[in-house]
């Protein structure tokens, strides 16, 4: 209606005239708010189209001329006919046919009801981890690490665990669109052909490709051949959480890009200069395992020692023997002190003058320790530290003869390493100058995550044709002409490299749910062979590389193993130029001197990374390792700074410590750009430093991530990508509720929940953690006897780094629902395993401990006694089985559980409607209804599967044959499960260790899950008498 009025008034061109695109653009420019248009015709108010709109069936409608009144007879005739027809069609109306046909011939290797596992790999940032994906009747349901893959060793991180949810996310983009209009892939190909022809004449002068870090050899090759085809085109890279510092640091030290690999297990002393190497960055999972292997107090070669200097508490810092909270800008200073101590044996003058006593002491102790362990030590610079610190770390490692022993250098893993910030700057400059006509954005979301001062969104409008390939219709898609739904990595053929260069083929577990395309295919559209599938592209790349006559066999083996043999990079022999490293530090120090009191630090979020996982409910609801916040980020400040500013946070009466904390909203002003964020006071944070995690505050993430947290990118400028000085903080007076699952930091005196000691004390008294458990006879009830298996678990607190991998793995394995922020704030999150975090000691420099708490599977289970209907019962193998069907939901069991590991479906938390999420579920595990209690089962479905397998073969279940989901995903092997009745099992041996203790043993619950006490290895030089 509206359109036609406009039509008359504005006097648009009459029917039959060509589309007026200019007018359409003009119209768009003058509209505000959200405008959807169905096609360009509508947009340009083409009268033909308008007519079409108003007459749904134009031809048939003409049968009935409007002007003439219809006669009674005609009317009746028509009505009779339509009724008759209507009756016919109603009688024959069929529901859409749903044929259920069993397999007549089962696909090879498939037994219905039995899961298959396929090897693939997940690329993230600048490295990938190998995976084994569990597939039920063709749908991937659970992700495990690939033990043969060097970057995984069988474990995963949280992102890999949550990848299946991303795959089935109903908010994923599902259609290819051009200006919002649904188009076929073929029409995109046709368009691309036209563009390619046009580009050929200009050698691609105004053609730009923007990617993230490319670690796919095939994609790198494709990009190179594209650049060869269009020599004047440019390839830009931007990874918002990438590490230009590491790349440029290598160039500073060695004059070229190299990849740095650590041999953490060979290092006796590890110094992390703001490096969260255990939990993020390339190789993190492997490093965590290597680190933990040397963390057992009885390990051959002795326990390692970890020093961490960092501005904001990370899981690596929490695992440190000596953690120093320093501002991000002071790390380079520390690096230099350590270096100068090592080379000259004393602190440099700058160090003496500017440093605090604590820092001096720390640096000199570190230097002494490093000196003591020459060739067996390791200095790691943080990904978010500037190039100078990396260069200095390279220099220190070299001077300590660590290179070749604990540090290796190889060719870069990335296909085209470059300074990504400069790369993006170049692109934006070109866009500003109007030099970009065609921009192809392969993945990524630069409109949201480019540095704020680049004004990427604004400049993007200067580009005539914008094509965006992405999993979601996100902020960038909104501003692009073409949006192509991306195939998830579980739907794609591709390849990738691990932290050490080992290549893996990514093979699909399922055909693309929404006809998504890979970057290979989109890039292929601009090549000479536009219709090749990614399978063909990847296969041909590796075929061309193989050279040998027989390609099929090694190809199949690579697919099966998940790694391509012999592709790891050989170590490079490069020498660091110390002088240039020192010079860089000097200039960094100069830039640092003088600045406003506050320093802002940006970090990728431990749960949603750079924002790409913002719509993933599992990750959003995972309590972040140190803060235990869910669903939001926060401006993290130290207690002392908060006191100075008068910032407070208080536990809300609703939910309380296990739910809701009201924090004050502050406004951050970073050199002119502002963002408001909820403040969070965190012990261990460096003074006058405020940390904002990236990835929140997105405005088009999908329905899960919408309006969550605060957008750190709004104040992240190219001059201060990871830390910016000169920030101002202002209280706004507003309050903001944060969903924090554990706001209580203190373990409370007298509660020996986490037992810990130092290595020296441990050697004196190895049984320090052991306390007298009450006699077994104290129970009223008869003791259970176990003739066969008695399942048990041992959790090594020394190994646990609190990375949350087990939490998400459990959620995926056991169909645990996501409840949302509002319910988390009420204290109703559903995780079967939680990771408790306690601080100990001084509030400014606390020691941090993590304790994973699954169900203890008590022998004298308090829950079993009080259930009125016998819905939680003791199994013959000692599990506390939960019978969901029998549960009436009195919650008495949870009240009586001293460990509070039981979770209740207060509302119907499980999603029973969304079709794609039905594919996600593990068919071995019940989806619980509301009103039912649930809890950790020790993955009883896995136990039963293992038992069936063993019984079929008429043998005992072997030790290690059954692995719980949490155990499988654990990078540090902190969780060991097995038959405690078998004295030779790993778990029985761990339980026999002197460090073994039971949680709340004095309650006589006799838990099956026990803990190995934490032992830390402090440097006696840094031990102060008042602080243990």
């Amino acid at each position: 209606m509206d359109c036609s009025k406009h039509n008359k008034r504005e006097g648009h061109p009459a029917a039959g005239q060509p589309l007026d695109l200019h007018a359409a653009r003009e119209r768009l420019r003058h509209t505000t708010g959200k405008t959807y248009w169905r096609s360009l015709e509508e947009l340009s108010l083409d009268p033909q189209f308008t007519e079409l709109l108003h007459r749904e069936f134009p031809r048939q409608a003409s049968e009935w001329p409007e002007a003439d009144a219809v006669g009674r007879r005609d009317f009746l005739k028509l009505m009779a006919a339509s009724l008759a027809l209507g009756g016919l069609s109603a009688g024959c109306a069929r529901k859409p046919s749903e044929t259920i046909v069993p397999y007549v011939r089962t696909p090879e290797g498939m037994t219905l009801g039995k899961a298959l596992y396929f090897a693939t790999a997940m690329p993230l940032g600048a490295s990938a981890i190998g995976l084994l994906v569990e597939s039920h009747e063709g749908r991937p349901t659970k992700i495990e690490g690939n033990p043969d893959h060097p970057g995984s060793l069988g474990a995963t991180d949280v992102f890999a665990q949550a990848a299946v949810l991303e795959l089935y996310d109903p908010d994923r983009s599902q259609v290819l669109t051009h200006l919002g209009d649904i188009r076929a892939w073929s029409s995109f190909l046709a368009e691309a052909r036209v563009v390619v022809e046009a580009l050929k004449s200009t050698k691609g002068a105004r053609f730009r490709v923007l990617t993230g870090s490319v670690i796919s050899p095939t994609l790198g090759d494709q990009l190179q051949s594209l650049l060869a085809q269009f020599p004047d085109a440019r390839w830009h890279q931007w990874e918002p959480a990438g590490s230009d510092g590491a790349r440029e640091g290598a160039r500073l030290a060695f004059g070229r890009y190299v990849n740095t690999i650590y041999r953490v297990d060979k290092a006796d002393v590890i110094v992390s200069l703001d490096a969260d190497f255990l939990a993020s960055g390339p190789g993190g999972i492997r490093y965590a395992r290597e680190f933990a292997r040397r963390r057992r107090p009885d390990v051959p070669g002795g326990m390692n020692r970890l020093y961490v200097a960092e501005p904001t508490p990370s899981v690596t810092g929490a695992s440190a023997d000596h953690r120093l909270a320093v501002r991000a800008s002071e790390v380079s200073e520390l690096a230099e002190w350590i270096h100068s101590q090592l080379t000259s044996g004393r602190l440099s003058d700058t160090g003496k003058n500017s440093g605090s006593e604590e820092k001096n002491r720390w640096a000199s102790a570190v230097a002494h320790d490093l000196q003591k362990y020459r060739g067996k030590s390791l200095v790691i610079a943080g990904e978010h530290q500037p190039a100078a610190v990396h260069a200095m770390a390279h220099a220190i490692n070299q001077s300590l003869a660590n290179v070749g022993a604990t540090v290796l250098y190889t060719e870069p893993v990335e296909a085209g390493p470059t300074n990504q910030l400069e790369s993006l700057r170049e692109l934006t400059n070109d866009m500003k100058a109007g030099n970009v006509e065609l921009l192809l954005i392969l993945g990524g979301n630069p409109v949201y995550d480019a540095p704020a001062d680049f004004q990427f969104a604004e400049l993007l409008k200067n580009v005539r044709t914008r094509i965006h390939l992405a999993l979601f219709e996100d902020e960038t898609s909104q501003l692009c002409h073409w949006h192509i739904p991306e195939a998830h990595f579980l739907e794609s053929w591709s390849d990738t490299r691990a932290y050490d260069g080992t290549a893996s083929v990514i093979q699909p577990l399922i055909a693309p749910l929404y006809h998504g395309k890979t970057a290979h295919e989109v890039l292929g559209a601009f090549s000479d062979q536009p219709s090749r599938t990614s399978y063909e592209i990847v296969r041909e790349y590796w075929k061309s590389r193989a050279g040998g006559s027989d390609f099929e066999k090694p190809w199949r083996k690579s697919l099966h193993d998940g790694v391509i043999a012999g592709t790891a990079f050989a170590p490079l022999h490069v020498a660091a130029k110390v002088a240039s490293s020192s010079r860089a530090i000097g200039s960094a120090a100069q830039a640092r001197s003088g600045g406003a009191p506050w320093e802002v630090v940006f970090r990728p979020d431990p749960a949603i990374y750079d924002g790409r996982f913002a719509n993933n409910g599992w990750l959003q609801e995972t309590p972040k390792p140190v803060t235990k916040l869910t669903w939001d980020n926060a401006a993290i400040v130290s207690p002392a700074s908060a006191q100075k500013m008068g910032l407070q946070q208080r536990v809300a009466a609703t939910g309380g410590e296990h739910g809701q904390t009201l924090s004050e909203v502050i406004e951050l002003d970073v050199n002119g750009s502002k963002v408001t964020a909820a403040a969070w006071i965190l012990p261990g944070q460096a003074e006058a430093t405020v940390t904002l995690h990236l990835g929140y505050g997105r405005w088009r993430p999908g329905r899960v991530g919408i309006q969550k947290g605060f957008n750190a990118y709004a104040v992240r400028a190219s001059s201060g990508l990871w830390s910016a000085s000169g920030a101002a903080l202002r209280k706004t007076g507003a309050r903001y509720p944060l969903a924090c699952t554990q706001a209580h930091y203190n373990m409370e005196s007298g509660r020996n929940l986490i037992r810990g000691t130092t290595l020296a004390e441990f050697h004196k008294d190895p049984k320090f953690g052991d306390e007298d458990a009450p006699p077994k006879s104290l129970s009223l009830y008869k003791e259970y006897q176990y003739a066969g298996y008695a399942w048990g678990m041992a959790i090594d607190l020394n190994a646990c780094i609190g990375c949350n991998s087990c939490v998400v793995a459990c959620q995926s394995e056991n169909n645990i629902p996501v409840v949302g922020k509002e319910q988390v704030m009420r204290g109703r999150e559903m995780h079967w395993i939680r990771i408790d975090r306690y601080f100990e000691g001084d509030i400014d420099t606390p020691a941090t401990y993590f304790q994973p708490v699954p169900c203890m599977q008590c022998e004298n289970a308090p829950c079993e006694e009080v259930c009125p209907v016998g819905a939680t019962v003791h199994s013959a193998e000692g599990l506390n089985d939960m019978v969901y069907n029998r549960c009436i939901g009195t919650r008495y069991c949870s009240n009586n559980c001293p460990y509070k590991v039981r979770r209740f479906n207060f509302l119907r938390f499980a999603d029973w409607e969304t079709p794609s999420l039905k594919l996600l579920r593990n068919p071995e595990v019940t989806v619980r209804s509301r009103g039912v209690m649930e809890k950790c089962t020790y993955c009883v479905q896995r136990i039963n599967a293992g038992r069936m397998e063993a019984e079929k073969q008429n043998r005992e279940i072997r030790d290690g044959e059954i692995v719980t989901a949490c155990q499988a995903s654990c990078p540090t092997e902190a969780i060991i499960f097995g038959n405690a009745n078998d004295p030779h099992s790993r778990v029985a041996k761990l339980k026999a260790q002197p460090r073994n203790y039971a949680l709340l043993a004095d309650l006589n619950t006799r838990p099956r899950t026990t803990y190995l006490a934490a032992v830390r290895n402090p440097n006696p030089e840094l031990e102060t008498p008042e602080k243990r």
Binding site: G655, H658, E865, V866, P868, C887, P898, Y899, R902, L907
Partner: protein, 462 residues
Amino acid sequence: MSAGLPADQSVGTRRGTPVLEPGYTYGSVTEKISAIVLTRPTTRGWWLGFGVSFLMVMMLFYTISYLIAVGVGIWGINIPVGWGFAIVNFVWWIGIGHAGTLISAILLLLNQKWRTSINRFAEAMTLFAVACAGLFPLLHAGRPWYAYWMFPYPSTMGIWPQFRSPLVWDVFAVSTYFTVSLMFWFVGLIPDFATLRDRATSRARQKTYGMLAMGWRGSARHWHRYQSAYLLLAGLATPLVVSVHTVVSLDFAVAIVPGWHTTIFPPYFVAGAIYSGFAMVLTLAIPLRAIYKLEDFITMRHLENMAKVMLATGLIVGYGYIVEFFMAWYGGNTYEIFLSLNRLAGPYRLFYWALIACNIIAPQFLWFRRVRTSVLALFVMSIIVNIGMWLERFVIVVVSLHRDFMPSAWGMYSPRIWDWTMFAGTIGLFLALLFLFLRFLPVISITEMRELVAGTQSSDKK
């Protein structure tokens, strides 16, 4: 003569204030009590009171419908506080439901004449309170439609309830208590039903009361049987008074939660229940006697005696609080000590101190005769004690749960709107039932009051 026991001539006027003001005859007693039901017009006040409470019942029904449709998540409960208002209210109502049977049965057996004029509505109050209480454990279950699984019935699944669980004991205790109380109340009503039948003027009333009177003709045999049955039921009900709240207390005492796991709970709960029960009887009796002009039947003697019972049981409850603290200190258990301190100074400290003020400090005024004989003071006191006993259950349920063994799992509970509508709704139900009772049944036992007439007459002669 009461219930087969020889009438004590002096009981009516012992210690000054009589249990029945002198000057009544059999006829005038019958007339006065039955008139409330039969001839007194339905006043605007009654309609107003009943209307308001009926609206509250509608609110209760709405809440229950919403609760069943959506789930117990509409309340404020969470992990760690799995029980909130529902269980607090359950224990509170059960406690209130104590006074009725105590007055009827135990005081009957102890030959306390003064119970006579208050026993009928105290029993009614018991029934209505237990009905309100019964709603909560049923509806607080996550899947209330399966709550019948708590009953031992020969299930086709071949599964029985888990008899180690105190919740199963609760089912038996509460349902038995309700049944016996109902029987006791009904049997007591039979002669009065007959009186009403005989005096009723409308046909419908005659029929209804006639059926309820079960053919009572007042023959000597009837009286004989009646009194034996009444006495037997009193004997049966007596242990139940003690058992029901003992079992309710075991819900807590059997659990290992600090603050629940104490052996003092059974006696302490029973004392608390009598305390709150008498408070509720006072709360109801004082307006009742004023509105229906029953000051002659429910005399100051009654009110004072009830105040004395309150004082005594209040002191027992106070002793219970002291013993809890003493045991925490004496036992040296970390968690118990923490719990005590958390009650005194934790986030819910205001509730605790309010509880102390209501339950321990306020009743001390009952030592003074002037307070005990002031109707207004007693009414205020009874309200205070009712609030205090509700707070006590809140402190026991919520404050114990919210911080137990693992600080990592500590949380807090705050009620939501549906917690309140459910609570207020049961108060509405209670009042609505009470209004109906006042309108259709004799609030005071006509039969037993007639027995007292003899006592007052004899004392007049003195």
